[in-house]
């Protein structure tokens, strides 16, 4: 079988992978050990495979790996800073927004992209953004609350950073 090389950044690390030209990004990420990228419907409907591509949420099951050449990917493995959870992860835990957890990586990353572009979303905007992430356990109320709480935490953090990092 023919192979080709792609260079990309995954969670801030430079990678050079050998892939087949027809490989899907979902398969390659899981093959390389990023199991937080979940395999769900494999047709763009459930959002379990969501990753951030250059900061934008995409379904890894609907992309050829070759399309990620030269791009930057964030998977759930890269969301926390070492041992320090991201405010979104904290909020999901605090609000009981994770039950079986299968949808959580995709929801968290999609919510992350939302909050980066819209730091103060309304509940409707959060619901609209999460409409591509199915959850069979929580009924969506808690994930939505958690995202709104995380938005407040993000805003507090960036305000603290702006006021000169006053301790």
């Amino acid at each position: 079988m023919n192979t080709m090389e792609i260079h990309l950044q995954v969670n801030g690390e430079s990678k050079r992978w050998s892939i087949a030209p027809g490989d899907l990004l979902l398969d390659v990420l899981r093959r390389e050990g990023y199991f937080g990228v979940k395999r769900g419907c494999e047709r763009g409907e459930c959002g379990a495979c969501t990753v951030l591509l250059d900061g934008k949420a995409v379904n890894a099951c609907l992309m050829f790996a070759a399309q990620a050449d030269g791009r930057e990917i964030l998977t759930i493995e890269g969301l926390a800073q070492g041992d320090r959870l991201d405010p979104l992860q904290e909020a999901f835990l605090d609000h009981g927004a994770v039950q079986c957890g299968f949808c959580a990586p995709g929801m968290l990353l999609n919510a992350r992209a939302l909050l980066m572009s819209n730091p103060d979303p309304t509940e409707d905007e959060v619901r609209d953004a999460l409409s591509g992430n199915m959850c069979r356990c929580t009924g969506y109320v808690k994930p939505v609350e958690a995202v709104l709480a995380a938005a407040r935490a993000y805003r507090r953090r960036s305000k603290a950073a702006r006021t000169g990092g006053a301790r």
């Binding site: 080709m4 030209p21 609907l62 591509g132």
Partner: protein, 288 residues
Amino acid sequence: MFDHVEAFHRPRSIPEAVRLLRLKGRGARVVAGGTDVIVQADREIRALVDITGLGLDYIRKNGDGWAIGATATMSSVANSAAMRAFAAGIIAAAAATCGSVQLRNMATVGGNLANASPAADLAIPLLALDATAVAAGERGRRGMPLADFFTGPGKTSLDGRLLVEVLIPLPPRGRTGWSFQKLGRTEVDISLVSLAAGLQLDAKGRVKFARIAMGAVGPMPLRARAAEQTLAGHALDENLIGAAAAAAAREAQPISDLRASAEYRRDMCGALTARALRECARQAGCSL
């Protein structure tokens, strides 16, 4: 799924892409966002030709109208201030209803048209706005009315050429209104029926210009020409809207599938026509 694919090409220019498509012939497939190509999983594909490196992701002024590049994503159209303002924002509104955020970040306008699904949402406002599809082949570029672009379910008159952009002329001005309506099973599902309408009224409240386009109710996105003719020249009121809605429902050629029955689609086609025309009337300052 795509184990038979032998090569993934990333051409850097339109001529290079066109050449590759000819060279690889029937085994070649254009990939823009990939959202239809991957779900369809055609095992005959031998070469993928990624066209996202051709600089076709623009939304820009073209004379009095607009040009949308083939690889502009649904997100970029939905979030474009210009598209949200142009023709009461019906192109942006249609883009905003396509699937989820994740899907809209990948799916392109060109892919939506070239895939030629009867339910292609972007086709509906673009048809209503008399858009032109511009294709590039080995003998140069050629524009064709979008109404001639679709030839059947999944079929276009592209014939191996590359769709480069769609051109949207400046619509009539004055007392006008535009509306896009979509009925779906859920937030992220494809349309059961989608519909766009545009009206221009004269000083006496008579219809000078009417456009109605509908999706998912025929083998391809359709103009409802009989309904448009029903409106033309007459004073806009509830009776006229009812007659146009009935004409659009008669013109629809829906089928039954797992999402909805043909009867339901036909009824909803009438209902959405009336809803869209009332919205247009309101924008045109006509109290009905």
